[in-house]
Symmetry: C2
Subunit: 498 residues, 2 copies
Amino acid sequence: MKEKELLQELKEINLLQQALGILDWDIQTGMPEKASNERSEVNSYLYSIYFSKKIGPKIKEAIHYFSEHPDELSETGKVIFEKVKEDYELEYKVPEELMTALTAATSSAQVQWQKSRESKKFTDFQPALTKNIELTKELIPYWKKDEATDYDVLLNQYEPGMTVEILDRVFDQLKAGILKIRQTINEKGQEPRTNFLTRKMTKAQQEKFVVGVIEQLGYDFSRGRLDDTIHPFMLGINHNDARITTRWNEHDFKMAVFGVIHEAGHGMYEQDIDEKYAYTPIYQGTSMGIHESQSLFNEIIIGSNRNFWEKQYPFFQECAEGTFDDISFDDFYRSLKKTQSSLIRIEADSLTYPLHIIIRYEIEKMIFNEGVAIEELPEIWNDKYEEYLGVRPENDVEGILQDVHWSGASFGYFPSYALGYMYAAQLLHAMEKEQSIDEILASDDYSPIKEWMKEHIHQYGASRKPTQLIQDATNEGLNPQYLIDYMEKIYFSVYQVD
Amino acid sequence: MKEKELLQELKEINLLQQALGILDWDIQTGMPEKASNERSEVNSYLYSIYFSKKIGPKIKEAIHYFSEHPDELSETGKVIFEKVKEDYELEYKVPEELMTALTAATSSAQVQWQKSRESKKFTDFQPALTKNIELTKELIPYWKKDEATDYDVLLNQYEPGMTVEILDRVFDQLKAGILKIRQTINEKGQEPRTNFLTRKMTKAQQEKFVVGVIEQLGYDFSRGRLDDTIHPFMLGINHNDARITTRWNEHDFKMAVFGVIHEAGHGMYEQDIDEKYAYTPIYQGTSMGIHESQSLFNEIIIGSNRNFWEKQYPFFQECAEGTFDDISFDDFYRSLKKTQSSLIRIEADSLTYPLHIIIRYEIEKMIFNEGVAIEELPEIWNDKYEEYLGVRPENDVEGILQDVHWSGASFGYFPSYALGYMYAAQLLHAMEKEQSIDEILASDDYSPIKEWMKEHIHQYGASRKPTQLIQDATNEGLNPQYLIDYMEKIYFSVYQVD
């Protein structure tokens, strides 16, 4: 066995993965409704080829050989081999039929989810969700290493090293911090004026603005594209093809503007991965949490910065063709940071956002560690919203049907959003030791920010673990206090609390 | 070997073909520009899996077994097996590397073609075209059976049974007929008024109209979709996913209106194929000529009908929101059928259209039978346009770069368009023996037309050959006189020639 042979096999596996990515993109951006059954078969079949290669004889042989002859690998080869070995050990025990069944189930569940959003009834999605949960529960024993609980196993799929024990503690600290800020604002804060936020801005006007902004931030359209979907996402096919989607509301420009800036952060991460990792399992973001740190850095850290908006506001006004000419910059900026309890996660403001995640975390823990009955979930969901945020969904589209994740069996994914937010604030703190983000965002050239991220995070792809990246970039482990401090600074300033 | 095993293998081959179809759709509808190299690798690899199965040991075994035990096949199984055997005999001699190289070459040529359209220079496309021609010439000896010339081999790929000998004769008759009609019109005809055709109609207004029209004609949007591309096409993934594309010009509504009606004809054919052929090589149109007969029946036969437009004109006026309120129906209808020499095939009127095809036919014959030098092609192209149509392209985008076909190495394809047109007129003649198309198009229900086509053409997919379909549907073989008579009737009426 030569390194070259291993790389050729990994390349074929990666090419199949890229094809599966495009098929999935097509499902989500406009496959004809009645095509879903045949498409399920296409995806399942292709997945079965992919999966049987991924845990196939060549990979097995390579693992045996290079475990005994590590010195025959190049430096890059060693890093790639470590990831291959890790993935293999995670997956080789899983029966191929089970993974094929899961692919078919999620493909069909996505269609059911979209239908249930039209009928607004969880019961139309429940059978598909139940199937996804059952198959995931069947998979857990195959994935399990030394994790303390079943849900820990799922967390580890998205954020290696993350546990229920850590999250219970970190989320407690974060929740307490947020509630304290909310209380202070309620008592002493000056509410920003926001009545102009619903003024009509056409899709074309919004698109002109946000496309211009993300190009300035560093998203490369010659290696990406922007499409429309119900639930926005980024799909990284390879570093020359990192696509993003959004949805538009002509009477709520904030949705698409911040949504696109968010997805562009994911896209920039993928576009910056070092080409030397092409066609290998390293050629992707290292974890969902780190991925979210990049999208949330764009959306919240940059998107809450006063200097950033002071610079962009004239361009925004120009794109809006007069609609906001009577609004002062100060009023405009403060309106963007109004905080208010909401029902929909992706429309939530940056103060209440983590509470949405904590609710999903608690429910997923109930599903996988406490055996809750699926039909009770909408009620549980609604009760938690009422308790934590003081609002209650009137139907399931405003509640449990709002997110696509469970239709893709992505259980354990949600906590990544809050982890990413904490990482983003911590990265900002580290970056500020070297350069002033306020000064950069007041200038014509934002590239030093992206360069810092490329140097410390992006370039590595999945060759380094989240814990190592955060430790190396910030000189300490995960610390939720940076986010609490950051939120306090922004919200006290906007709400004019002394 | 059981029939079930054969069908399972054919299903896997078909699933790979569906995946390749989606990948190609993505390339043409918006893949990021810089993604083309990696995508070439994805397509080549997937194609190599597809192709090695298509001529692989299971198919080989099935051919041996069922050639000796035909009675063990069901009725449908026999029809499928015949097609499999035929395809196999065409392809098994071809080295896999050669087909893989062609897939890579065409994938890259499509990108080069699009770039050359921007630079307007044939020389930017010439290396890719030369490569496509060289690889095709390498393939011809493997495909050749008893055809008289190399170009006959290519014709047979798209229209089984078609020869240079037949086409030379039929095209001579057609050319003479067209020239005679043009002469009569020039001498005695009344030119329709057309100055209002360039009035602005937004994409949204055009889309509303044409989507409404093709739904009435029978195109099913729950099993299809409409996208934007430079060169319009239909892609049949399966009978639940037959997609179409168009391009729009706000000052030339005719382009998208007739373009979409055309592509919908292709789509309706694919959507109507009997589901019993699903996941087999029968699950597609039988030939390019028959396919074009369906698109041109929609676009030209229905789209030239006075009663059809009399019925649709109020809806058209409504969609145009007042823009055409001052135009009488008679003026409007006559304007649609104005004939005039043009440079672009897909913008040509229905009288001069076959001349565009005859030019391409003659050039392809020169490439494959007469060894013409590739760099001379733009000059030859331009000379022929001047000679046959009296117009000369000013640049290559108006000339030899206008069509996508050669970038996909689809040599021998163009004649199908003229064959389809002749078939369409012949099918109309046969249909009229049973029902009056004028009466149907004056009514609220167009379905009898589609039902007739479904019964005589669509349902069979590729289970019957073009010659048999035409013979059975019209009780005779290909006869170009029906088209000449049809064109004379329409154009003499519009041009008010007695």
